[in-house]
């Protein structure tokens, strides 16, 4: 369990660092409510709020990381995003859900796939 959570945490940190390098601003990490958890919320260079779902895998034996994001999961994420936006004190120009697939290689490096604006 710990090892899996660690893989997930490492992935989220990696994505956060990756986005900050590209001029994104991290608003919050691991936001929780009754309905679930949001990995990462960022503000992209265009000013849009982006709810990020990060999936990490350390091999493709069970398919690519992004395959784990099912239709139901996307629907849940969009609801979570709406809940988060209602509680956020400032005005939001635009809101979107992005998915990130992080694949850790054996040598410690990782590759990231970024899908903008996922639809159920």
């Amino acid at each position: 369990m710990d090892e899996r959570r660690e893989t997930g945490q490492r992935g989220e940190s990696l994505v956060a660092a990756y986005l900050e390098r590209r001029g994104w601003r991290v608003i919050c990490r691991n936001w929780r409510c009754d309905a679930g958890e949001i990995d990462l919320v960022c503000c992209d260079p265009d000013g849009a709020m982006v709810v990020c779902e990060v999936k990490s895998r350390s091999g493709v034996g069970y398919g690519s990381p992004l395959e784990a994001i099912t239709r139901d999961k996307v629907r849940r994420l969009r609801q979570l995003a709406a809940t988060w936006a209602r509680e956020y004190p400032e005005t939001i120009q635009a809101l979107r859900v992005d998915a990130f697939g992080v694949l850790w290689h054996v040598d410690g490096t990782a590759s990231v796939v970024h899908v903008r604006g996922v639809q159920p």
Binding site: G63, S64, L66, E67, I69, V74, A99, V113, V115, V118, Q119
Partner: protein, 510 residues
């Protein structure tokens, strides 16, 4: 967004349409969608193809993969689109060159191991592709021979997806590596085995000569079935066009031995428990061919005909007249050829002895009548020859000798008679007497001598208008066998007797 394109063939019955398989890869979460009116088996192609591609060592794109089968409005059924789908996906992914795909049709089902398996309907599909000007056919390795029956396309056999990649890359696959199943040859029964029954043998010969329908009537054990089974053996070989039609139907129903053109006329003998759908063709959504289409250009034998369900028998009426059958089902209207020669065999009553010299019938009179009435008038009216068979006496069997004439000798006369018919009828595009429509028979061909015999039979109510034409057709066949230029009065008399099933048929005219 990357695009890949390959072609396959959609079959509704024997009607084939080229289907473009378009694949777009890119954007979105990894997901594969299949659109374009697929049926259940085809919908499963998505999962089958993914697994096959993975085990063949290629990667399935980790993107949104949209597979479209176009024209999207045409209902598509079957598993033979798998290979085309995979080729289009691999081409979109850049894993295989797409040069050859524009000029090829691809057919075949894939297994989870990446192997390519045989499918139904390869022959009609390749025929359609060649008609549309496609130059290459990529088919399962086991069906290379079937696809090569069609002239005009280069056929590539593939046993696995690795072979598919090799073919698309322009490499040649060694033919020897692909195992061809052996062609099965059926042993045809010979008329030499049938002792006696000279009249019935003669009736069979006339039936073969003009492709007439026959009804054998007689007690059990006199050889009705023996005779009927031997009819295909004295029929002439099929022409190339006819053989292709026969092979296409066999391929469509998935009969395994379409390896070379079937030159011998087909033979179908469904059991009397057969349902209407199994006789005429049927099934939900899109109808499949039945026994009458499997007997196309050959013989349909209904043994114990009165035991068939009345609905199954009556369903034969229209195909008997039209030579084809149209079947309307939920998803499509299909039309199958069904120009068969019908042979019926029946007992005269439940115990089988009614009207048999020396036999004692134990049935009550009503039972005899009810039994005979199971074969309806409209069906019997479409039968050209009604032949009664009697049990052979020992003296008769001795006189007839142990061996009858072999099939080969009779087949020789039949071929000669058919040659005369083709020569006489080619102007109107027919090849057998039985096919000639009434107007041509009455107005274009010279009238037989002794037609007045028929007028008499009509005025006595013994012959219907259709019956007159049938007798004239029979008379022509008898004259053709005798090598006469046109039917003589004796031929007309014999034909009339054959048609009515008279007991005293004068064998070979008097």
């Amino acid at each position: 967004m990357r695009l890949g394109r390959a072609r396959s063939v959609g079959l509704i019955g024997l009607e084939a349409t080229l289907v473009d398989v378009e694949v777009s890869v890119g954007g979105g979460l990894p997901r594969t969608v299949l659109v374009g009116l697929p049926d259940a088996a085809l919908h499963e192609a998505r999962d089958r193809c993914r697994a096959a591609v993975a085990s063949a060592g290629f990667g399935w794109p980790e993107h949104l993969v949209t597979i479209n089968l176009s024209p999207a409005s045409l209902p598509k059924a079957g598993t033979h689109f798998d290979v085309a789908i995979i080729a289009a996906v691999l081409a979109a992914n850049g894993a295989v060159p797409s040069g050859l795909l524009a000029d090829s049709v691809l057919l075949g089902e894939v297994g989870l191991d990446g192997g390519v398996r045989p499918v139904r309907g390869v022959l009609p599909a390749v025929l359609a592709a060649v008609r549309e000007g496609i130059g290459h056919a990529i088919v399962p390795a086991q069906q290379v021979r079937e696809a090569r029956l069609v002239d005009g396309a280069r056929v590539h056999g593939i046993a696995s997806l690795a072979d598919l990649a090799a073919v698309l890359a322009g490499q040649s696959i060694p033919e020897a590596a692909t195992v061809q199943p052996p062609v099965r040859r059926e042993r045809v029964a010979d008329l030499i085995d049938v002792a006696g029954q000279l009249e019935a043998r003669w009736a069979l010969e006339v039936a073969a000569a003009g492709a007439h329908h026959v009804h054998f009537l007689g007690p059990p054990g006199v050889g009705k079935t023996l005779l009927a089974e031997r009819l295909p053996g004295i029929l002439p070989d099929l022409s190339t066009a006819d053989a292709l039609e026969v092979a296409a139907i066999r391929s469509l129903v998935g009969l395994p031995d379409v390896g070379e053109l079937p030159r011998r006329p087909p033979y179908a003998a469904p059991h009397h428990s057969a349902s209407v759908a199994s006789i005429t063709g049927g099934g939900s959504q899109i109808a499949r061919p039945g026994a009458i289409s499997l007997a196309h250009r050959g013989v349909l034998f209904l043994d114990e005909a009165p035991e068939f369900s009345p609905r199954a028998l009556e369903a034969l009426r229209t195909p008997l007249e039209l030579g084809r059958i149209e079947l309307a089902r939920a998803r499509a209207l299909t039309s199958y050829p069904a120009r068969f020669q019908l042979v019926l065999a029946s007992n005269p009553c439940p115990c089988g002895q009614a009207g048999t010299p020396g036999g004692v019938c134990t049935c009550p009179p009503m039972a005899v009548r009810r039994y005979a009435a199971r074969l309806s008038g409209p069906i019997l009216d479409r039968i050209d020859i009604a032949q009664r068979l009697r049990p052979m006496t020992r003296a008769y069997l001795r006189a007839a000798g142990s061996a009858g004439e072999p099939s080969a000798a009779i087949a020789g006369r039949v071929v000669e008679a058919r040659r005369r018919q083709v020569h006489r009828l080619r102007e109107w595009g027919w090849s057998t007497n039985a096919e000639v429509p009434g107007p041509v028979l009455r107005r274009k061909l010279p009238p037989p001598e002794g037609v007045e015999l028929l007028d008499e039979a009509v005025s006595r109510g013994q012959l219907s208008a259709r019956g007159v034409d049938k007798v004239v057709r029979l008379a022509w066949s008898i004259a053709d066998l005798a090598g006469a230029a046109r039917p003589r009065p004796s031929d007309v008399r014999t034909a009339l007797a054959m048609r009515r099933g008279d007991d005293a048929v004068e064998v070979r005219g008097g």
